[in-house]
Assembly symmetry: C2
C-alpha cells in the first residue's frame, strides 16, 4: 500500500541526501541465522492494497513512543518505484506524526533504498539531474546498487541529551519501476533477483541493524501484494520467506468477500508452517471480524482499524490518531507473543530433560545444556535455537543424520517446486478427505495407489502383494511370519489342524542372518539378530536368538582403494589376492565376479554352514534368510546403536557387505527352498542411489520390507511386499490360515498419501534433479576425489560412500576406543558449529543427505568435514 | 456474479409464469447420497465478482449443443434477490445465446426459485401486483416457499420431434434481499437456514432432477462469494458443502494480486479434501496463468477467458462466442475427469482384491463384490461408492467400528468448529513446519506439548516420563521391557555386568495377565497373552506364552439387569448373591464394593494364584502385571479377532471385566512389588467415557500405554508413560543401562501435533459438547432406556454399554455359533443398507462412536439396530 504519489525526488530537497555505499553488495545466503534478541515480524496481506504499509507505519508510531528504541522497517521488494516507496511512506508518515505530537524525546529517522533495477534507478531524479549509479558493481541481471539515502533528525520538545532519542530505520532492499507483480517486472526490466540473494540481503539487513544496540528493537518486514504473490524470482513469497519462518501479522480484508480471502490467506500461511499472531483489517462496516474470530476460535486476535478516509485530508494524521490504540494493541500482541516464544524456547531443554524418556539414550549422560531445541525444519535443515554469548539466535544445521535415516525433503527453493510444502498440502488434503479409514476388505485411493506404485517400483518383477504396517520392526515381524509359514508349506510340515500345537515339538524354526545385522526392536525382530548388547538379559529378558548368524565379508575404501575384509573362516580358504581389491567402486557390483574364484569360496562356505545347521540338530530347520541387500552399515551403525557399540567393542562397524556374498547366499537359499527376506527398511527408496537395493546384489527376494524414506520423511508407514507364492501359503478355507497380524492404523490414508507423493517425487527427473532417468540411478552426490582425499588423511581409517551416504571411520588406537569416542564427539561438536547436525558415533561419523539434495550441498558438507579432519 | 440489473419481475411478462409448489419443503439431511450417473461439479471462486455465473452460463452453452441433454444449474444461496438472480442470468443468457445460434434441436428451459426470505419475497412483484406466498408453510425463521417459476420452449430450426430436444433447468434454492454476505442477510432478514436443511434441499434437487433421465446430464452448483465466504448459517461454504465433496472448478482472479488469491483459494479447497479439476479466470493482461500453472505443476489445467467487455454491448453475446472454445475445453476436462473417476471407482475392488494383503482377512472368503470402496470420510461417516441396480451412487455409512477403534472426529457442522478440518490444517502446518525431526536428545514443540498434556491428563498423579513409539504393540513391548527391568531392580536380581547373560539361567520372568486379553501382534506383546488361535504354531512359531493367565469375573446386562459372571474357581468360594447383580451400572464402579465379601473372595483367589506360581517353580518369577483397566471386551472382540473367535469357540466374548477384581489385583501386585502395566490402547482418551480408564478401577499403574484415539484417529502414534521410579531403573553411568528401543519416527511432529489437538479438543467443553466438565466424564451417549429395551429382545443375550461403546451379544444356540455367525452377518448387511458400517462379528455386534458424537446420532443408530433386531 502506498497512498503517496509524490515523486521520490522530492525527498532530496527536504533532507540531507547522500550517496551511501551499501555494505550488502552481492550477498549470498550461506545459511539462515537471525537474532532472537528482539521481535521480527513479517507483515502479510490477503490481497494487494489492503493497507500493509499503514499497519507498518502505525506500528512505528506505536512503538517509537519513548526514547532508546529502534524501529526497523524493511521492504524487500518494491515495485512501482520510485513513485511508490513504502519505506519512504513509513518514513514520511512517522515524521509527520512525530511533528504533530512532538514528544519529549528525539528520533533519528532514515530511509534507504539499497538496490534497484536499471529502469527504476533511471527514473530517480534529484531536482532534475540524474544521480550516479554503480553500474560497475551491478549485481547482474540489470540490478544496480542504488544507495539512495535520506535521513532527518526529528527534534523532540526536550534536549535529546536529557530525554534521549530513538531511531527509525526504513529500508527498501530492491526497487523495480513498473507497478506490477515482482515476477513480471523483474523479467520485463531484466532485473531478476534469485531467492538466495534476496534472503542473503535480508539476513544482512537484520544482522547489521541489530548489532550493538542496547535499547529495544522492533522489526517488521513488509511483503509485496498477497501472501502467495510471486516474488522477483517467481517463487511465491510465502515460500520464499519460509526459511526464516518469522511470525506473521496478517492484514485482512474488510470488504465484501474479504472473509474468504482472509481465511484463505491465513490457511496458505499455515500450510507453510508460519505462526500468525494477529489479523488486522480496515473496517468496511461488514463486521467481518465476527466470522473471522469465530473461524480462528479466538486463538488469534482479530483487530479492526477505523475506515481509511477516501479523501486523504489531514494527510491521514487524524486517522493515525484514531487508530493508535489499535496499533498499540497490535504491538502489545506482537511483544507478548515474542516474549512467550523466547521464554518457551529457553525453558524447553529443562522441560524436555524432566519429562521425556528418549530412546537409546542414557539420560545421565545428557546434561540439560546439551539438549538441542529444534524450532523447525526447512528441507534438509533444522532451524535450531541457540544462546551464544547470552545472545539468542535461530540458526541452521544440516540434518546430516537424516533424522534416523528417514528424511527426503530438500531445501531447494525453486518456482513452485518444494517437496516439503507440497507434502504439507497433501497431508492436509488427505486428513480432510479421509482422516483414517478401516483397511481390511476395503479400498480407498491412497492405499491402492501406494500399493500400485510399490509393485511397479521396488517390487517390480517379483512382488504381487502389499501388506501394510507401521514401522520397520512390524514389517519385519510380518515378513518373518510370512517366511516361516511359506517354509512350513513348502516343506510340508504344516498340518490341517492349524490350532494344534504338536508341530511345535517337531521342529524348531530358525532364521539365517548376518552377524551384526539389526532388524528392529520388537521381540520378533530382535530374535533375528545375533546376541549383542541390545539383546542382553537386562534389555530383553525374553530374547533367545533364533538364528544362525554368518560372518559376512565387507568392503570399504582405505587409503584411496576399495578393499575386501574377509572373516576368518573364509580367509583360510585362501582367495586369490586380485579378488580382494577394486580400483573403482562399480567393480564391486559387477556380475562378472560370479565366475571368480571368490564366488566359489563363498559358496562352499555358505553350503557348509547350512549343512552344519541341519546336521547339528535334527529338529532344527532354517526357515528363512534375512539380509539387508547392499547394506553399508552393520547394526552397530544404527544411529543410536553405533555409539553404544563403539563404546563397548571399541570399533565402529562401518562396513559394506560384499554384494557378491549376498548374491551367492540368496541363490543357495533358493536352492534349498528357504524363503528370502530383504530388509530394505534402510536401503529402500534411493538411500543407496537406487530405488531398491536389489539393484546392487542383482537378485530378487520372496519378501521385502520398506519403511523410513517411503513417506518422504513425514510419518511412519511400512510395507511388507510378498510374491504370490508366499501369499498362497495363507489362502484357504479357514480364517485361521490367514495372516493374523495388523495394527490399528494399517494403511492409514495420510501415510499412504505421503508415500505416493514421495515415491513419485523421487523417481521423476522433473522433481528429482539427481536422477539419471535411463539408469534409474542417482548421480554421484559426493565428490569422489574429495572422498579419496579424505580417505588419505591420517585421521581417517576407512570410508564408504554410496548413494546418499558418506561414512567415515576415524583412526582409533585399538583399545582407545573409549577415548576415540570422545574424540569424534568433539569433532562433531565443531561440525555443529559449522552448521552440520550429526549424531555422535564413537569413532565413526557419517553424512546422510536426501535423494534430491544437490551435489553442491554435499560438497559443502564434505568441505567442512575435510577442514575439521585436517585440523585433527 | 450477476451483471443483470433488470428487475426480476420482468420475467413474468416474457414467459409463462406459474406458481409451483415445492416438493422440497422442510427437507432435512438424513444422510448424504448422490448419483454418480453424471457429473456434478461445484463452481467456486477466489473472490466475489470473478465471473462464476458467466462460467456457469458458458458451460450451459457448451454442453447444450445437441439434443437429449440436460443441464442442471443450481444456485443454493442467492443474496441481493430478486435484483440479482444468477439462475435467471444463466436462464436468460442461454436463451439469448440459443436465439442467436438457432441450432436444429429445441430446448425446454426453466428457472425456478424455491424459497426466499420474507423480505426478498416481498420485493418480488409481478407487473405491479404482489404474488401469493406460502407464509403458512414457512420453514421457519422468516423463510417462505416462494415457488417462482418461469419456463420457455426455445424452438430450434428443425421440428423437435425430428431432432429431439434438450433441457436447461435453473434453480435458485434460497434468496435473500440484501446484497451482502449470506450470514449477514440471513440474520438481518431473520431468515437463517441451517446447514443440514440446505444440504437436504440440495440433495433433493440433485435426486429429483437426475431421476428417469435417459440422456446426458451435466450439473453445476454455484456457490456464493469466495470459497471461504460464510453461508447462511455462518458456516464457511467450503465447510458447508464438504459432506458432498463434489469435484470443483475454481474461478480464479486474473487481476493484480489475483495469483495470490487464486492459490490461497485453491489451498483452502484442498485443505477440505476437495479435488479441483480446473482453474479458469478472466484475462486482465497480466499472464497470471504462468505462475498458476507453475504452482499447480500442470496437474490442474488453467484456462483463460477473454476479457469481459466493460460495456455490456451486444448483451455479452460476442463475448460468449469468443469464449466458447474455452468453455468447450472446460467441459471436456470436467467430462473426462468424471469418466476417469467413475472408471477408477469401478476398478478399485478388483485391483484391491488382486494386490492388497489385508490383515486378519482370509482372502478366499472375500469375493471382489464384497470389497467396500471408500471415497472419503466426513466426521464419523464414510462416503462409499456403490452400484445399486446398475446405478452408481455415493452414499453414506456411519463408521460404527470407528475404524478399528481409532476414530474421534464427528461430523457436526457448526460455525468454524469441525474437528477433521481443523486437524487437516494442523497436519499441513506440522508438515510444513517440521516434517519429522530427530527426537533423542532434542526437543521441539509438538513433542513437548504432547508430553505435557499427557502428564497433566491421563498420567496425572503418577506418571512423570513419556516414551514415544508408533502403535499399541510397540508401546506394550516397551512397557514390558520397563516393567521387567524394574522388577529385576526392585528384587535385586540385576547385576552390575549388564552384558552378562548368566542371570538368564537364574530366573524365568513371566507376566500376570487376564485370560482373553490381547495386547498386540508383535512377538513380545503376543507373549503376554494366553494361548489362542492367534498364537498357534502356524501363526507364530516362536510363541511360548510367557504369562500366568487368570480367569476374570465379568459383568454385562441381561434382561435389563447388570449381572456378574464368575469363573469356576471363584464361584466355588460361594459369594453372596446380592454381590452379583446391580440395578444401576454406576454401582459396579463404586469403591464401597471394596468392603464386600466378594472383594475378600477375589483377594484370596488372587493371592493363592500368585503363591502357586512361586511354589510350582522356584526359578519362575512374575515380573509384571498387565491389564486393560475397565476393558469391556476381551481379546476376542478386537474387531478382526472377534469374528474368528466367534467362529471357533462359538461365543463372542463381549464381557466387561469386574472393576473390583482389577482393583484387588492391582493392590495385591503392589504389595508384592510386581510392576503394574495398564494397557489403555483401547480404553484411553474417552473411549469408555473418561479420559483414562483408571477412573473406573480407581487405582494407578506404574506404566501405561496409549495409542489409537490419541491422535484423534489420523495417524499412528503411541506412548508408554512411566513413573519416575520406573525411569530410575534405567539411569546409570552406562549406556547399556538405558532403554535400547526406538523407532525411526519416534515422536514424529505430525503425530504429536494431532495428539495435542485431539487431547485438547476432547477435554474442552467448548469443542466437546458431550463433556460434563466438573466430572471430567462424558454424558451418557446411548439412550439407556432403549438399551434396556434391546436387552429384553428375545434375539439379544447380553448388552454392555459404556462411554462410546455399545456392544450386543445375540442369542446363539450353543453349538450353533457357526450359524449364528452367518446370522449376525446378514443382520449387519441390512444395517449397512441402513447406512451403518459394522464389521461382521459372529454373534456379537457393536456400535462405536467418537467422544464428540451427539447422543442424537447414537439414538439414530440404536433405533435402526432395534428395528432390525425386532425383525429377527
Amino acid at each position: 500500500m502506498s497512498p503517496s504519489t509524490t515523486l521520490f525526488a522530492g525527498i532530496f530537497r527536504r533532507n540531507s541526501v547522500r550517496r551511501f555505499i551499501s555494505t550488502h553488495s552481492r550477498p549470498a545466503l550461506s545459511s539462515i541465522e537471525y537474532p532472537l534478541s528482539h521481535p521480527i515480524y513479517t507483515i502479510w496481506a490477503a490481497n494487494t492494497s489492503l493497507g500493509k504499509t499503514l499497519v507498518s507505519a502505525g506500528l512505528s508510531a506505536s512503538f517509537l513512543s519513548s526514547a532508546h528504541r529502534k524501529f526497523l522497517y524493511l521492504k524487500p521488494v518494491q515495485t512501482g518505484f520510485p513513485e511508490d516507496s513504502d519505506s519512504r511512506f513509513v518514513y514520511n508518515k512517522y515524521s509527520e506524526f512525530f511533528s504533530q505530537n512532538r514528544p519529549e524525546f528525539s528520533v533519528f529517522a532514515s530511509n534507504h533504498v539499497l538496490k534497484a533495477s536499471v529502469s527504476a534507478s533511471e527514473a530517480v531524479s534529484v531536482g532534475g539531474f540524474e544521480i550516479e549509479r554503480d553500474k560497475d558493481v551491478s549485481c547482474g541481471n540489470g540490478v544496480v546498487n542504488l544507495g539512495l539515502y535520506e535521513e532527518s533528525k526529528l527534534q523532540g520538545s526536550e534536549n535529546w541529551e536529557m530525554k534521549g532519542f530513538s531511531k527509525l530505520v526504513c529500508k527498501t532492499m530492491y526497487g523495480w519501476k513498473e507497478a506490477l507483480s515482482p515476477h513480471l517486472v523483474a523479467e520485463r526490466e531484466n532485473a531478476r533477483v534469485e531467492d538466495d540473494e534476496l534472503l542473503g540481503m535480508l539476513k544482512g539487513c537484520l544482522g547489521s541493524e541489530s548489532e550493538s544496540e542496547k535499547g529495544e528493537i522492533l522489526c517488521v518486514i513488509e511483503t509485496a501484494g498477497g501472501v502467495a504473490s510471486p516474488g522477483p524470482s517467481g517463487s511465491l513469497q510465502c515460500d520464499l520467506y519460509r526459511p526464516f519462518r518469522f511470525p506473521a501479522v496478517l492484514v485482512g480484508d474488510g470488504r465484501l468477500g474479504g472473509i474468504s480471502g482472509t481465511i484463505s490467506a491465513y490457511e496458505s500461511l499455515t500450510l507453510r508452517g508460519y505462526d500468525v499472531v494477529a489479523v488486522i483489517f480496515e473496517d468496511h462496516g461488514l463486521v467481518n471480524e465476527g466470522p473471522l474470530s469465530s473461524y480462528l476460535r479466538r486463538r488469534v486476535p482479530v483487530l479492526v482499524l477505523p475506515p481509511i478516509p477516501k479523501e486523504m485530508s489531514n494527510n491521514l494524521m487524524e486517522w493515525f490518531q484514531e487508530a493508535l490504540s489499535t496499533f498499540h494493541s497490535l504491538e502489545e500482541i506482537m511483544q507478548s507473543d515474542f516474549l512467550e516464544r523466547t521464554s518457551r524456547l529457553h525453558n524447553m531443554p529443562r522441560k524436555a530433560h524432566d519429562i521425556f524418556w528418549w530412546p537409546f539414550t542414557q539420560h545421565k549422560l545428557v546434561p540439560e545444556e546439551n539438549v538441542t531445541v529444534i524450532d523447525s525444519r526447512c528441507g534438509e535443515n533444522f532451524a535450531v535455537h541457540k544462546v551464544n554469548n547470552n545472545v539468542d539466535l535461530i540458526t541452521q544445521q544440516f540434518d546430516a543424520c537424516a533424522s534416523w535415516w528417514t528424511q527426503g525433503p530438500d531445501a531447494t527453493l525453486q518456482v513452485s517446486l518444494w517437496f516439503q510444502i507440497e507434502l504439507a498440502r497433501d497431508m492436509g488434503y488427505a486428513t480432510a478427505r479421509y482422516g483414517h479409514v478401516m483397511f481390511p476388505e476395503n479400498v480407498y485411493e491412497p492405499a491402492l495407489e501406494c500399493a500400485e506404485l510399490l509393485l511397479e517400483g521396488v517390487g517390480k518383477g517379483w512382488a504381487s502383494r502389499v501388506y501394510f504396517s507401521d514401522n520397520g520392526s512390524t514389517a519385519i515381524e510380518i515378513a518373518l511370519k510370512m517366511a516361516l509359514r511359506k517354509f512350513l508349506f513348502d516343506h510340508k510340515i504344516v498340518s490341517d489342524d492349524l490350532v494344534a500345537k504338536n508341530a511345535e515339538s517337531r521342529v524348531d524354526l530358525k532364521v539365517l542372518a548376518l552377524r551384526g545385522s539389526y532388524h528392529g526392536d520388537t521381540l520378533g525382530a530382535m530374535e533375528a539378530q545375533a546376541p549383542s548388547p541390545y539383546t542382553g538379559f537386562y534389555q530383553q529378558p525374553w530374547y533367545k536368538g533364533r538364528g544362525h548368524f554368518l560372518d559376512p565379508p565387507t568392503v570399504a575404501m582405505r587409503d584411496g582403494v576399495w578393499k575386501l575384509s574377509l572373516p576368518q573362516e573364509i580367509e583360510t580358504l585362501k582367495p586369490s589376492l586380485e579378488d580382494l581389491t577394486f580400483s573403482l567402486r562399480e567393480n564391486i557390483f559387477k556380475e562378472s565376479r560370479d565366475t571368480s574364484n571368490l564366488a566359489d569360496i563363498y559358496h562352499s562356505y555358505i553350503w557348509k554352514t547350512l549343512q552344519l545347521i541341519i546336521d547339528s540338530s535334527g529338529s532344527t530347520r532354517t526357515g528363512a534368510l534375512i539380509i539387508e541387500p547392499g547394506k553399508t552399515l552393520t547394526y552397530a551403525q544404527q544411529c543410536g546403536y553405533l555409539q553404544l557399540f563403539a563404546v563397548i567393542q571399541g570399533a565402529g562397524g562401518m562396513e559394506m557387505v560384499d554384494p557378491l556374498f549376498q548374491r551367492v547366499l540368496v541363490k543357495e537359499c533358493r536352492n534349498q527352498k528357504i524363503p528370502v527376506i530383504f530388509d530394505e527398511v534402510f536401503t529402500g527408496f534411493w538411500r543407496l542411489g537406487a530405488e531398491s537395493a536389489t539393484e546392487f546384489i542383482r537378485c530378487k527376494p520372496d519378501i521385502a520390507c520398506f519403511a523410513k524414506l517411503m513417506t518422504g520423511g513425514i510419518v511412519p508407514l511400512a510395507v511388507t511386499l510378498a510374491s504370490e507364492a508366499v501369499f498362497e501359503a495363507f489362502v484357504g478355507d479357514s480364517k485361521l490360515q490367514a495372516l493374523l497380524h495388523g495394527h490399528s492404523y494399517t494403511a492409514h490414508a495420510v501415510g499412504c498419501t505421503a508415500a505416493v507423493k514421495s515415491i513419485k517425487w523421487f523417481k521423476d527427473s522433473k522433481t528429482n534433479h539427481n536422477l539419471i532417468s535411463e539408469a534409474m540411478l542417482l548421480r554421484e552426490l559426493w565428490d569422489l576425489d574429495m572422498v579419496r582425499q579424505i580417505s588419505l588423511l591420517p585421521a581417517v581409517h576407512r570410508v564408504v560412500v554410496l548413494g546418499t551416504l558418506c561414512a567415515l571411520e576415524l583412526q582409533a588406537e585399538g583399545s582407545n576406543a573409549g577415548y576415540a569416542s570422545l574424540y569424534a564427539r568433539s569433532l562433531l561438536q565443531k561440525l555443529r558449529e559449522d552448521g552440520i547436525y550429526m549424531r555422535p558415533l564413537g569413532n565413526v561419523i557419517y553424512l546422510m543427505c536426501g535423494p534430491c539434495t544437490s551435489p553442491q550441498s554435499c560438497s559443502n558438507l564434505l568441505n567442512k568435514v575435510y577442514s575439521r579432519l585436517e585440523e585433527l
